[in-house]
């Protein structure tokens, strides 16, 4: 079964600084999708960024970018110019072709 590991239970970043959240996964598939979701205190699940495994180019969405290392099965999220509104729980997720498999999440705190 596929597993997703987020080894950082909690991270802190100063406003306007950059922070990287780690994620590793385990799969025997060669084609799959990876996602980062943000969950603010409202508990709504908000898609931040997606990556297709067959694409070598790392995905970017404004201040959010990923470092996708397929061979290492690593999928980290970099948030640049952190803002107070970025404070939330962040979940890494793997799509096995049907369901999403989530990591345990990383709480991101942003200090002003």
């Amino acid at each position: 079964a596929q597993t997703v590991t987020q080894s950082q239970p909690e991270m802190s970043v100063q406003e306007a600084e950059t922070v990287t959240l780690s994620c590793t996964y385990d799969t025997s598939e060669s084609d799959y999708y990876l996602f980062w979701y943000k969950q603010p205190p409202s508990r709504q699940m908000i898609l931040v960024i997606r990556q297709e495994a067959y694409k070598q180019q790392n995905a970017t969405e404004n201040r959010f970018s990923v470092n996708f290392q397929k061979a290492a099965k690593s999928f980290s999220l970099k948030i640049s110019d952190s803002q107070l509104g970025d404070a939330a729980m962040y979940f890494c997720a793997y799509n096995d072709g049907n369901k999403l498999v989530f990591g345990a999440g990383t709480i991101l705190r942003v200090k002003s």
């Binding site: 409202s42 508990r43 699940m45 297709e52 799509n95 369901k99 999403l100 989530f102 999440g105």
Partner: protein, 116 residues
């Protein structure tokens, strides 16, 4: 922009009672999901539904759970006899899974179920 909706936002029920959680997926989506998140824990897959039948279910989705698409718009999760450990946030999600869609799943805002 189309969105997934869920009702109610919060449901309180007594142990042993039946509850039905309702979801309206995005209208042109074909694949529907329920996930559960116990407070402070990760989001867990419960069940997926396609073409009016369950396509996959997890170990959590035992005989106490059922899903239904009673009409062309609603997708429901029923828990027949609730237990204290069923207290959680329940998320509905849907996707079109069209070629090139990246299989992105769109989540509803969740229903918080409290079993007393």
């Amino acid at each position: 922009e189309p969105e997934v909706t869920q009702t109610p936002s919060h449901q309180v029920t007594q142990m042993g009672q039946e509850v039905i959680l309702r979801c309206v997926p995005i209208s042109n989506h074909l694949y529907f999901y329920w996930y559960r998140q116990i407070l402070g824990q990760k989001v867990e897959f419960l069940v997926s539904f396609y073409n009016n039948e369950i396509s996959e279910k997890s170990e959590i989705f035992d005989d106490q759970f059922s899903v239904e698409r009673p009409d062309g718009s609603n997708f429901t999760l029923k828990i027949r006899s609730t237990k204290l450990e069923d207290s959680a946030m329940y998320f509905c999600a849907s996707t079109s899974r069209r070629t090139g869609s990246s299989y992105e799943q769109y989540f509803g805002p969740g229903t918080r179920l409290t079993v007393t």
